[in-house]
């Protein structure tokens, strides 16, 4: 691009228009860097905006966090970095930080007049890229672009390693103890993924797109995962070992790591505020939450026994255990904001109670029907219909939320990139459908794709999943198929839908249009998705998606777009993004970057997996 374009872009600033990342002139970088600044103080906001413009960045200012979030959600690729104040009346800055990190995986810089160590530390633990003390100097703002680059670089690195493009089919080396190195991942995966990679080869070269095959966490896969985790013990469950236990070809440590991360977050969330949480001082962790309380108590109960008796589904046990462990297990690492809070806020007002209640009272419940229990498994499982409603309000447009895939036996496909949505689990959309559908019509379940969020139609979602799917799915990209749990009974092949759903996500837009691809599928005679029909189903989705796609489905959706490349095995499916189905919405690059970003979320945190248990940051006296 020529420089003048860049200038043009800059001057059009503060626009909410989604800008393709390609519009940013690379060689002019950081000119045109798109910054979203959030501060309730209008004086500061004015000064900041002016400073940022002086740095030649594009600036969008918001005085409220909610507003910022909805803008970001509505325009997933529209911004490169977010700067937010810590103390804001409508939402705590750290919460915003987490949500942004989860949903959009953007670098977030915190700022405050408060320079006390505790607050700065909080910024660190919540994953802020940087912390600026007010009054902010323009010099400090000049360099914020480094955070964008750094993040992209990390993602890129992950991608490279994963793709194994650098490796040449080296034999699996994951035996070595260094599981934090993703090199092993790449090499190990190489053999299996080689063919996948090849197809993406040309895309991989595109640094700006950072594309990665996605692993779809089907119900069975997740079951295996949870089983492995339980076997190892939540404390000792490290991706490498889990991977070995699972023994699923084609699954990489990274996939497991990111999935584990989500899982832990999920458990954390379920467990409510534990003592760790309190220490952490997260404002959003509300220890008082009754819903969570019981869970902790449950620890004392013989979870093991319960599990042993088969009353508790393994997953539930894992959840409970995790809950018992307290949040600490999922201590947020820089990259991964603790979604717990978000999740809780989003969904769960009552979820915890619901879920826990079930677990505690009737183990057998868990089995059957645990719809709730099942829900536990999925990260965002707490979606009850009411939550759905709640979520709607809140989560507007959390695209990635969770693939509602109903559950095919708990296979949820946490797309790693779903990470972002993690926070969002809009339970709303998920739960509802799940619950409604349960086991019966796979078709409905299939529509997991309920794009959650953004769909203000509160009730609508759960009620009629099928109908909604058609049109309304909020774009959400479910990373986890919470519904998986519900659909325990569902056929395995439901996950195919999941994929479909994935595509949906792309389309989904926070505008409440639920582009549930799945729904379309559901509606169609195809419903039974046999694997064979996947292709067709997928294509259907694609078309549906197109229609509804408004885009933002944020990266999640984009990822899914590649339904063309779905593998519908009952294995983790790697969804390759070939050509985005919705090019009009996002440039391929955007998709890729979105995908990557999301993956990134999954990836990066993965490395922190091991730290969770030892993550005593909560206890750091500040």
């Amino acid at each position: 691009m020529n420089p003048s374009n860049g200038r043009g872009v800059v001057s059009s600033v503060s626009s909410r228009v989604s800008r393709k990342s390609s519009e940013t002139v690379p060689d002019q970088f950081p000119v045109g860097l798109r910054v979203m600044v959030v501060d309730d103080d209008p004086t500061c906001l004015m000064i900041l905006e002016k400073m940022l413009r002086t740095c030649k960045y594009e600036v969008k200012r918001c005085s409220r966090a909610e507003e910022a979030l909805s803008i970001l959600r509505g325009n997933s690729n529209g911004y490169d970095v977010v700067i937010s104040d810590v103390h804001m009346p409508d939402m705590d800055g750290f919460k915003l930080l987490e949500q942004v990190g989860l949903e959009m995986d953007l670098p977030v810089i915190m700022m405050s007049a408060d320079d006390s160590k505790s607050v700065v530390m909080k910024g660190v633990t919540h994953g802020a890229c940087d912390y600026l003390i007010k009054p902010v100097r323009i010099e400090a703002l000049k360099n914020i672009w480094q955070h964008v680059i750094r993040k992209r670089k990390n993602e890129w690195k992950e991608v490279e390693q994963q793709s194994g493009s650098a490796d040449d089919g080296q034999p699996k080396q994951s035996e070595d103890g260094d599981y934090s190195s993703s090199v092993n991942e790449g090499s190990w995966r190489n053999s299996k993924r080689r063919k996948d990679d090849d197809e993406d080869g040309e895309d991989r070269d595109d640094t700006s797109t950072l594309k990665k095959p996605r692993v779809v966490w089907s119900v069975e896969l997740h079951q295996q995962f949870v089983g492995a985790v339980n076997q190892l013990g939540i404390d000792k469950a490290v991706p490498k070992k889990i991977l070995e236990l699972m023994n699923v070809p084609g699954l990489t440590r990274e996939n497991v790591a990111s999935h584990l991360q989500k899982y832990r977050l999920y458990l954390r969330r379920l467990s409510g505020v534990s003592q760790h949480q309190n220490n952490l001082g997260s404002p959003f962790m509300n220890p008082q939450d009754p819903g969570y309380g019981p869970l902790s108590n449950l620890n004392g109960i013989d979870l093991q026994t319960l599990a042993a008796t088969g009353q508790l589904p393994a997953q539930s046990l894992a959840n409970l255990q995790a809950a018992g462990l307290g949040r600490a297990a999922i201590a947020p690492k820089s990259r991964i904001p603790i979604p717990v809070v978000d999740q809780r806020n989003l969904f769960s007002f009552e979820n915890p109670k619901l879920t826990f209640g079930d677990t505690q009272q009737q183990p057998q419940h868990l089995n059957n029907g645990g719809k709730q229990i099942n829900l536990l498994h999925g990260i965002p499982t707490n979606m009850e219909p009411k939550q759905l409603v709640n979520l709607h309000h809140q989560g507007n447009s959390i695209p990635a939320v969770q693939s509602v895939q109903s559950v095919h036996n708990g296979s949820y496909q946490p797309q790693s990139r779903v990470q972002q949505p993690m926070g969002n689990y809009n339970p709303v959309s998920h739960t509802s459908p799940m619950i409604n559908f349960p086991l019966s019509s796979s078709a409905e379940l299939r529509s997991n794709i309920y794009a959650l969020p953004n769909n203000p139609a509160k009730g609508g979602f759960p009620e009629d999943v099928t109908s909604e799917m058609k049109g309304s799915t909020p774009g959400f990209v479910p990373s986890y198929d919470i519904f998986n749990e519900l659909n325990h009974q569902q056929k395995v092949h439901d996950w195919e839908l999941q994929n479909v759903g994935l595509t949906f996500n792309a389309t989904q837009q926070a505008n409440n249009s639920i582009d549930v691809v799945g729904t379309s599928i559901v509606g169609s005679p195809h419903q039974a998705f046999p694997s064979s029909s996947q292709g067709s189903g997928l294509s259907r989705n694609a078309s549906v998606v197109h229609a509804n796609n408004n885009n933002n489905a944020i990266s999640m959706g984009q990822h899914h777009m590649s339904n063309n490349n779905f593998y519908h095995e009952n294995n983790p499916v790697r969804v390759k993004l070939e050509t985005p189905l919705f090019p009009e919405q996002f440039g391929q690059d955007d998709l890729m970057s979105a995908l990557l970003k999301q993956q990134q979320g999954g990836i990066v945190p993965a490395e922190n997996d091991f730290d969770f248990d030892g993550y005593s940051i909560d206890n750091i006296p500040v």
Binding site: D41, T43, M46, I47, K50, A113, K134
Partner: protein, 151 residues
Amino acid sequence: MDRNQSHRQVATMKQSLFDQGYLDHEQFNQLEELQDDANPNFVEEVVTLYYRDSARLVHSIEQALEKSPIDFNKLDSYMHQFRGSSSSIGAKKVKAECSLFREYCRAGNGEGCMRTFQQVKKEYTALRKKLETFFQLARQAGPVDRARRPK
């Protein structure tokens, strides 16, 4: 000549504001640096916005101080905002009084808070007057020709 004189007057006044500690010269200079052709009165606009916005904060604080019992947390929160705002325009004395206020607040000392707040208001009002004069002078003097970094 006149123009130069005016500019000098402005500069002198500004310097005295710095010297007397009303304004933090670094921060204020930062604001002035931001002023350009597109926003020739940027600093004045910011200050005006500050006074307008902080008026409600001042009001909230006053109300909170009148309550019984005093909600120190809320007070602290208001004051934090107020202090942040004030520091962004370089209101040095105001900021200092705010910090003092917050200490009393944290100690739960209602009396101390009230006393300090009177000081805060005093400084706040005094600064406003000075700045009004300053901006008047500045407007009269016209835009300052100074080297700017190339846009």
